[in-house]
């Protein structure tokens, strides 16, 4: 993967991020933050790579630590979002 | 007032010469000087001598018209059914009597339609008079001393007068409902934000009816209507009745028994009193009280707004004369459609269809 492709992907994703959020209802700000928080734990991918690799035990420990932290986030983030969203469920009449 | 300084000016501009009876403008707050300033001459009542067109609110006494040119026009609200003798007298002296209330309800004649313009004012004034006689306030007011609830007003007959009555009562804050026999009025009532009360199971008059007028209803309908009204009227504080059937006596809409169910202090205004009245017990030009309910019956309600009534009436006459004005002859010439509709007498004869039959 050359740098330009990566950069292109990065730039386009920024545009998407911009548009996706632009019209969000204020009442959803907090759930939205919780979800983006959970999603940004995709850094766990890096952590997994580090923990899986042989070679440097230091890297492994660091990686495992990161896995724990990221997991807290992933599970916590999605679960908490679900709880918050459940509040908006009550009125299905529309 | 069949002319105001404004229409005098406009008629003069057409090329007419005008003479105004002295003191005619008093009721509407117009002095003789104003008329003179507008270009009219002032004369005493018998000054019709030599006139080719005599304008009036009501038909003038034929005795005063001795001097008018033969074949001269009498243009006024002539009340042909009520004042038949007078019409005959016009015919006898060879005048051409034109009854403005027979103006057909066609689009181009709208601006000459004295019934509309006067009915409009009646509707407004009836509500004002009723509000003034009513011992409470119309609008809802929630105050520190307690709540004054909104008056309930019911308008029966939703022609021009009825619609204006609805509008005025709503303006004053009353809760307004209304009824009529013509189904087209249902939407019109709603278009003024009021509530239509209609006989549901018996057919009324679909659409606008012939020329926009109502006819007499079947007895079945009348019964259904009476029932509906009975249940509704007991809760009303103000009732304005405007129902008319052209050429016939006004339909009886409210009986004495129904009045007895109303709350003492309520007010009924019978705008049809001159045509026999919609309300049992209403008396022309009097406020009578029955079962604690005041029943108002002014025969000529627009006259209670003299200035506007004159302005609009005279404008109707002017619109009429100017629409048919023939420059060359220096006088108006009628076309067939409208001429036949309003001409009562011509060449010494009563010529109108409805008067001959």
């Amino acid at each position: 993967m050359d740098f330009i492709s990566i950069l292109s992907i990065f730039v386009l994703a920024c545009f998407v991020g911009y548009y996706v959020v632009w019209s969000v209802t204020p009442a959803l700000h907090t759930p939205l933050m919780a979800v983006t928080n959970a999603i940004s734990s995709v850094i766990i991918v890096g952590a997994l790579v580090a923990s899986a690799a042989a070679g440097s035990p230091l890297a492994k420990v660091l990686g495992l630590g990161a896995v724990v932290l990221a997991s807290v986030n992933i599970f916590g983030g999605f679960a908490v979002t679900q709880r918050m969203l459940a509040m908006y469920k009550k009125k299905e009449k529309k | 007032m069949a002319a105001t300084p404004e229409t005098v000016r406009k008629l003069s501009a057409l090329g007419a010469k005008l003479v105004v009876e002295s003191g005619a403008g008093k009721g509407a707050g117009i002095s003789d000087d104003d008329f003179q300033a507008a270009g009219a001459a002032i004369a005493s009542a018998d000054a019709a001598a030599g006139a080719q067109i005599v304008l009036g609110v009501q038909g003038p006494d034929p005795a005063l018209l001795g001097g008018a040119a033969p074949g001269a026009w009498i243009v006024a609200g002539l009340d042909p059914f009520g004042q038949r003798a007078r019409v005959d007298a016009y015919a006898a002296v060879g005048l051409e009597a034109l009854a403005m209330e027979f103006m057909p309800r066609i689009t181009r004649a709208q601006s000459m339609d004295i019934l509309s313009s006067q009915a409009n004012l009646s509707g407004y004034k009836a509500v004002l008079v009723a509000a003034n006689l009513y011992g409470r306030a119309f609008p809802m007011m929630m105050t520190a001393a307690g709540t004054v609830s909104a008056a309930k007003a019911f308008i029966m007959g939703v022609g021009v007068a009825g619609l204006q009555a609805i509008a005025t009562a709503r303006r004053l804050g009353a809760q307004v409902s209304a009824t009529d026999v013509r189904s087209a009025t249902k939407e019109q009532i709603q278009s003024l934000g009021a509530k239509p009360i209609f006989v549901e199971n018996v057919a009324g008059i679909e659409g606008e009816g012939a020329g926009g007028y109502a006819t007499e209803m079947s007895s079945e309908y009348q019964k259904a209507q009476a029932e509906l009204v009975s249940s509704h009227i007991a809760k009303q504080d103000i009732v304005i009745t405007t129902a008319l059937i052209p050429g016939r006596a006004a339909p009886r809409l409210i009986s004495d028994a129904q009045i007895a169910t109303m709350r003492p202090g309520s007010v009924i205004y019978d705008l049809a009193v001159a045509q026999g009245g919609n309300v049992e017990g209403s008396v022309a030009d009097q406020v009578v009280e029955r079962h604690g309910v005041k029943i108002v019956g002014y025969a000529n309600t627009p006259a209670l707004l003299p200035a506007d009534a004159s302005a609009l009436f005279s404008r109707n006459l002017f619109n009429f004369l100017s629409a048919f004005w023939d420059k060359e002859q220096g006088r108006p010439v009628l076309d067939e459609e409208i001429g036949n509709a309003i001409r009562l007498t011509q060449g010494g004869q009563v010529v109108h269809e409805r008067l001959k039959g």
Partner: protein
């Protein structure tokens, strides 16, 4: 990394990225929000599974344990936490992402081979060094900044803005030092460089957030959220991982935009908030009343959203509605709510306005039906069932001091029990303005009250607009 694996792996990461996009998309409106959350979970599962599958699974047990521990903690916290503690929880979570990014960066430094970023000489590729350095720095800032935000939000640290003398110089200097070290790092991959970068970044995160007042914390949290995204993206560059890049960029930009939107809604300058330490006086909170009692500011969108979801809304108009002639648009708001199945009533106080029947005239003019208008005695009991009490330009007539405070000039007047409603929206122009009797109103400061500060007509117009979205 990827170079070694099949195109399916790349595709899987792309799918994960797209799922994350759909997650955020879903979260932008209430109707689709739950589906959005689910997309996010699926995306994350795909990303994790793909990574595990494509890497030697020798360490699987350890990893499984790590995930179980972390996941368990996260799950329990999420279940137990009180709804009111959400903001600080989100801040705390952010700090974890930041720390994770730091750890991953350090791991990559420790074992570059595993990350496939060694060049021919067995050194770390310079481009990767920059990415790594930036990733660690941003991660560290996110971590320490979020910690401060958490402490402030949780009330464990004064919410007031703490302004160090000379902070501008210190902050700027530290930031420049970090950037300089990242540059240096491309030349010299010694451990001290990366260690210093990490340490300085922790410090600057701390310094940047400390001077920001409590009222601006939500914006800060969102901004930190954005940072955590950039950190993930930086790591994604290092790993050439599509999922991380897409997600990082997505989170980064959406977080930034979100903070911007929040600032706008709060009438705060975006720059002065994010510049935090640099912005000077901006720190004086918009959330602290002149009386220094805390109150919450709401937006038209908040009001629209909550009223649309409500069963019962009671509108309490007062003199301010008359002054701004908001009656027509208020009626329209009622119409839209009714069309949404909400039960709308108007509560008219006997002395609302400045003349007897003042509200009645105006509401009648606006064609509010008489049967929706209630006097005090008739509606007092309904407040307990009301989801929303919408106070518009009224003040004295909802002031509980009339019931409790004998010294108050309005003592003895009956007032609406708005405090029994689940949520109170209070429309007035400013916190300073008072009613006819000139006294402060405790309702402003209640937990369930949101102040909608604007001209009544403008505010209701905004709400109607928001309702129709």
């Amino acid at each position: 990394m990827e170079h070694a694996s099949s195109p399916w792996v790349g595709l899987a990461y792309l799918v994960a990225g797209v799922l994350f996009i759909m997650a955020l998309r879903g979260l932008s409106s209430p109707g689709t929000s739950r589906a959005g959350n689910r997309y996010g979970m699926i995306g994350m599962t795909i990303a994790v599974a793909t990574t595990l599958v494509t890497h030697s699974i020798a360490s699987l047990p350890e990893i499984a344990v790590a995930i179980a521990i972390g996941g368990g903690i996260g799950f329990i916290i999420a279940r137990r936490i009180q709804m009111t503690a959400m903001p600080q929880l989100v801040a705390a979570f952010h700090s974890l992402v930041g720390l994770a990014a730091v750890l991953v960066g350090l791991a990559a430094y420790a074992n570059p081979e595993a990350f496939g970023i060694l060049d021919a000489q067995g050194l770390i590729e310079p481009q990767s060094r920059v990415e790594m350095g930036l990733g660690i720095a941003i991660g560290a800032i996110t971590f320490s900044g979020s910690i401060i935000a958490f402490l402030k939000l949780a009330g464990k640290m004064s919410g007031a803005a703490i302004l160090l003398p000379g902070r501008h110089v210190i902050n700027l200097g530290t930031l420049l030092a970090i950037l300089g070290l990242v540059g240096w790092f491309t030349q010299d991959q010694s451990a001290w460089v990366i260690a210093t970068i990490t340490a300085l970044s922790f410090v600057i995160g701390f310094l940047l957030i400390i001077p920001i007042g409590g009222a601006d914390m939500p914006v800060v949290v969102s901004m930190l959220n954005s940072y955590s995204g950039w950190a993930a993206a930086a790591m994604g560059f290092t790993l050439h991982n599509t999922a991380m890049i897409i997600t990082g960029a997505l989170v980064g930009s959406s977080g930034a935009i979100l903070s911007y939107i929040m600032c706008k809604a709060m009438n705060r300058s975006f720059l002065s908030v994010i510049a935090g330490g640099f912005g000077a006086e901006a720190a004086a909170g918009g959330g602290a009343a002149k009386e220094q009692r805390p109150w919450k500011r709401g937006s038209a969108e908040d009001a629209a959203f909550l009223m649309k979801e409500a069963e019962n809304v009671i509108i309490i108009p007062g003199y301010g509605m008359a002054v701004s002639q908001a009656q027509h648009v208020l009626r329209e708001m009622g119409d839209v709510l009714k069309a949404n199945g909400v039960n709308v009533k108007y509560a008219i106080h006997p002395v609302a306005g400045r003349m007897p029947g003042h509200m009645n005239v105006l509401l009648a003019e606006a064609n509010v039906p008489y049967d929706e208008v209630f006097e005090l005695e008739d509606i007092q009991g309904d407040f307990a069932q009301a989801d929303v009490a919408f106070v518009i330009g009224a003040n004295d007539v909802v002031n509980p001091a009339a019931k409790t405070d004998k010294s108050s000039p309005i003592y003895g007047m009956p007032v609406f029990d708005v405090d029994k409603a689940k949520t109170i929206f209070f429309v007035k122009r400013s916190m300073g303005g008072v009613g006819y009797s000139g006294v402060d109103n405790d309702v402003f400061y209640m937990d369930q009250t949101m102040m909608l500060l604007a001209d009544a007509k403008k505010m209701v117009e905004e709400i109607v607009k928001a309702l129709q979205h």
